[in-house]
Symmetry: C2
Subunit: 388 residues, 2 copies
Amino acid sequence: MKNIAILGSTGSIGTQTLDIVRENKELKITSLAVDSNITLLETQIREFMPNLVCVYQEEKAKQLKDNIKDLTVKVVTGMEGLIACAIEQDTDTVVTAMVGMIGIRPTIEAIKAGKNIALANKETLVTAGHIIMPLIKEKKVSLLPVDSEHSAIFQSLNGEDKKKAFKILLTASGGPFRGKKQSELNNIAPKDALKHPNWSMGRKITIDSATMVNKGLEVLEAAWLFDMDLDKIQVVVHPQSIIHSMVEYVDGSIIAQMGVPDMKLPIQYALFYPSRLPLSQGERVDFAKLKQLTFEEPDMDTFFGLRLAYEAGGFGGSMPTVYNAANEWAVAAFLEGRIKFLEIPALIREAMKQHQLIDNPSLNEILNTEQQTYDFVRGYTESGALKL
Amino acid sequence: MKNIAILGSTGSIGTQTLDIVRENKELKITSLAVDSNITLLETQIREFMPNLVCVYQEEKAKQLKDNIKDLTVKVVTGMEGLIACAIEQDTDTVVTAMVGMIGIRPTIEAIKAGKNIALANKETLVTAGHIIMPLIKEKKVSLLPVDSEHSAIFQSLNGEDKKKAFKILLTASGGPFRGKKQSELNNIAPKDALKHPNWSMGRKITIDSATMVNKGLEVLEAAWLFDMDLDKIQVVVHPQSIIHSMVEYVDGSIIAQMGVPDMKLPIQYALFYPSRLPLSQGERVDFAKLKQLTFEEPDMDTFFGLRLAYEAGGFGGSMPTVYNAANEWAVAAFLEGRIKFLEIPALIREAMKQHQLIDNPSLNEILNTEQQTYDFVRGYTESGALKL
């Protein structure tokens, strides 16, 4: 029996994780945490009967308590509640599937409490990799990536001497605007950017795919996860999303992991590693039907949010936090119709320009940098200074 | 220091193995064996100074002895000499790079003498897999494939639970006549069939690629090497020869090994496994330049030699020996202009039809079946009974 906590259980990764738990009797849910969707959470509680749930928003937490008076499950709230879910005593593995930097503190506390991490919250490593990775080693817990690309890299390193890895080839679908130039992207509406060609995902990550900032975050995440220099992480645009990523070795040999674009595959892999379970109802790749796999270089002039990730990673320290926080704010503003599509990377660029770098920032310094970045991009946008 | 014997040192695999030995000071040549090319062998002897060499043809062996009187290297001949090279006492690994069933006895004797095998002579496993594989286990030696496809499968199984392998996807370039129909293949001349689009190889294997009998032999070899049922080994035509083969797991995940088509990569891998060495002067795959990888189903109606391999493997016992021996004779006859291109698989089919199956044949029964098959196909061809 493996006991699982899911932080972010009503999102795309959360619900797909629960699909897998439903089909596997050896998995049990110990705790669930959500931001505010108490309707779906209540259904999940009644099906999976966790010991503990957290609703981040206090008002919603109170409502939920009223709604489930007939049950014994404990309801907690806020960051304190989220951390309580992350360190719930019976839990073996915490699936960190929340969106954004809110994941950092619960992830750190879970590791400190000796929990294994199935990592879907890439912001944690992007901003606090220098804190997380040594802690993982110290506490001897495992950190398994849930992102399909990082799962593919992990699988392509299986049984290999990591020191012989020469390069990571991180594949990218290129998103819905692949092949377009900046002039064609000026008047993109949120509904256009929310149409991802291959993957069904949450709204934030779908916009990040359209700007390729998601790929930038993945580059920064991969650097921490696989202890690889940024110049050894190359993005390869591969629109079919069949090759999920590759590792090239010193001898020129490349190991790749492929599959249909279905997040259940990497989620299940992270939960059952090192075993592989038959994927129920999972489609299989049929190469004769596929006919071809294609490849391109990423267009980092149009999608300059990707180039900015390499720059942020090159600075290191607090700069990736600025990159990520500016993007979080900008995506929310874009979805609300307050800024234009290309203003997302432009805001990241401006935020990075004005930031005073902190080397090796503490958790508090990371969280302060996040807040300062939010304040800066809000002010900058409202001042009308933002120009493309 | 690793001591290497090469059986078939003047062929394509043999000379490329020596290129690798030349560049790696930790490899030493202990013995070399050739059929008849004593000019090249003498150059090799003077460079690599082996303890022992075999020239299979007795007359040529005598000539060589005269030519290298100034050296202390011992010269032996015939099957006895070939076996002496295979079991030379200082040798750690025997590279079996001879063409055809002549490789069976030296390979068996090398294993019995506790040598590791770098297997490039696929006929050994195709015809005597039921003898070789248990012997490998018993003697606790390693058997590492040199064929690029089998090396790719081996690499794709690295660090994985073999029981979770669901299917082997064996890639095939399709050879120079991919896409052609039978009617277009009637008047193929040897020089046309000797033009392989991707790989630079010996004459026999190049013809086998054109008929796809080579892929048939590889299917049979893979079944033994990886203990996989034939119906779980699927040939995927992939004309660019970048993906060297793949393994699909029960969860739908596919691990693939890729590289430029260069035999030095799998040879070096077999010699240094589990380590990977930088490949000197080796080209690297550039996906943006490649642009695409394409896939097709094999046309087993036109290239029915491939289908016959599955049939031979389905019968098992002595039938794969008939498949292989009929093909060996037919390819030689085709290269000499005595039969037509499509008569190669037709002769295999006729030889298989008339054969009285022997289950679990002994080494002698295998060698007798080989001789009987040669006699049958020669007689059948000379009688004029061969019709397409």
